[in-house]
Symmetry: C2
Subunit: 345 residues, 2 copies
Amino acid sequence: MNEQPRGTRPGRITIRDVAADAGVSVAAVSKVLRNAYGVSPALRQNVLTSIEKLGYRPSTAARGMRGRTFTIGVVLVEMGNPFLPDVIAGISDACGADGYKVLIGLGQAQLTLEESLLDSMIDHGMDGLILVAPRMSGETLEAYARQTPLVVIAHHEPSPNAYDTVNSDDAAGAQMVVAELVAAGHSDIAMISLLVADDNSQTHVSVAREKGYLKAMGDAGLEPSARILRMTGDKDLRQAQMRSFLSAPDRPTAVFCWSDLFAIELIGLARSSGMNLPSDLSVIGYDNSPPATMPLIELTSVDQNARGLGGAAATALLSRIAGRTNPQRLMLKPTLAHRTSHGPA
Amino acid sequence: MNEQPRGTRPGRITIRDVAADAGVSVAAVSKVLRNAYGVSPALRQNVLTSIEKLGYRPSTAARGMRGRTFTIGVVLVEMGNPFLPDVIAGISDACGADGYKVLIGLGQAQLTLEESLLDSMIDHGMDGLILVAPRMSGETLEAYARQTPLVVIAHHEPSPNAYDTVNSDDAAGAQMVVAELVAAGHSDIAMISLLVADDNSQTHVSVAREKGYLKAMGDAGLEPSARILRMTGDKDLRQAQMRSFLSAPDRPTAVFCWSDLFAIELIGLARSSGMNLPSDLSVIGYDNSPPATMPLIELTSVDQNARGLGGAAATALLSRIAGRTNPQRLMLKPTLAHRTSHGPA
DNA sequence: CTGAAAGCGCTTACAG
DNA sequence: CTGAAAGCGCTTACAG
């Protein structure tokens, strides 16, 4: 539907212009650009001056055809999660230091779109990819990893082959929460988790948190009262589930929510139904996201060090781009941010 | 620090492989790929079959060198704003229909990074760019617009030359809010806005909302009591400002907040200081973002139709890529989402 | 240390 | 309708 030719803009300064201006060969300019071997300081200075003077910027497309693009792609499933900005910031910081640029693709919660995005990024010649909480299968991930350096964040694949995983130690985070509540005198502690429907649910962070919760409850001798309520991603349905949970006769004295989002919702519903928090109910969340610090919320929450996750993933990816092939499974320790949403039993 | 050559992966299927498999020329394959003129249905079918069979995908980098990349770049200043996901969704939908992919860059609130991102996207050969709430000057925008098709969302540039602007009618939104509050019997209505420090503050959406507020107050004969409090972006400082606003003797009966984020914070602070809402204070926000619907918040808020903004911007960009050069200034009508955060005076 | 030449995978006039 | 050839702007062996 659009016929006007575009291609390289007419005015674009190319490596040839720089070479001509500096009175050297195109190859020499390329070497200076890449900090490659065998250029005299004089020539280098010459070229640098011309680059500056002409405002030259290499075409990523052209570079991508033979060398690298100095760009890495980050694929997000959705943008709503408040911990994503910090992950991205961590990635950007670590990449920027090496001259890499970060471009983001959004999966929009559609598996096909997510995969077509990966294809597209590979087609763009990106030097490597970081996926955050992907939903695809382990085989699909392996297949992509054979095509490009790949690192996955927030996805507990037990034994990746051709790619790396970077996770917060979600089980440890859950254990910290239970320990905190037990220390405060609670013995009836429930967990509200996420109902994950797809086939790869076992790799979801919520499952790792559930395991940590169960382990900690067992360790504290509270196994009999341990219970996990998996609630839906649909907001309206979920609020109905929460209301009935709150009004049930066997309501616990404390709740560990797999995410801040759920925890904040629960707090709102509890208060609006006349409950007094934290005296009637202690709530602890996960993510230590900005809304956790809101007045009237003041949510105690596990901080998974989102920035650290991003940084570690970027570092891993860069080393993979540099040639490493053995898979790494990185695990960062979470911490607990104490606020006033929980109290003594 | 990394020496391993990469370039095009060894296994990559190229247009040449497809041509060989289909028994036609490379040029023929290229034409089929682009739906270009002059290919017989038979040849086309042949080529399509081979493409399918070999799993061929054209290299964006190579295409970018001569034609287009079928990729558009979206630059966001930050990711925190809850209305961004819908904007992106709107863009993606509109672009996807035309076979375009969307790649996102994040400015991280640094002007230089923002501009280097634009450079990088242009270097990537992206066919066009959409900027959301950029902070750069009008001249800088014009300069970029000379290099690539450009559309700007949520930025009130009075007379763009080489690019298009797509905005919600922020003044109208503010007027709707005031009208709603006046109808409910309020006459002492303050506005809490954002303190914008940089040189291009006049183009910020908050300023357009302020103008609408002042206009509506004047129209209602409430000019004497109109007042705008511009609060800082720094969270802690802002909360202090809000507290003193709430405890001041001349506290109004209703507040219009320039964003949901501010409104929700204000509600939390008001409640935690013992006020009863909405009887003690009516609050209306702007963005109609997900948190506005939270229990205990139930914030009445202006919906700027984020998805529509994204869609309109994408459509504009596509028509620009197709050759249009006259500037467009699009303005979408907002609507008011009624909830219970405001009541009679 | 320096440069000429081939080639990356496409698209685009241009012939046939 | 079809294809051979040039060229997009780089990088990479390879000579000199």
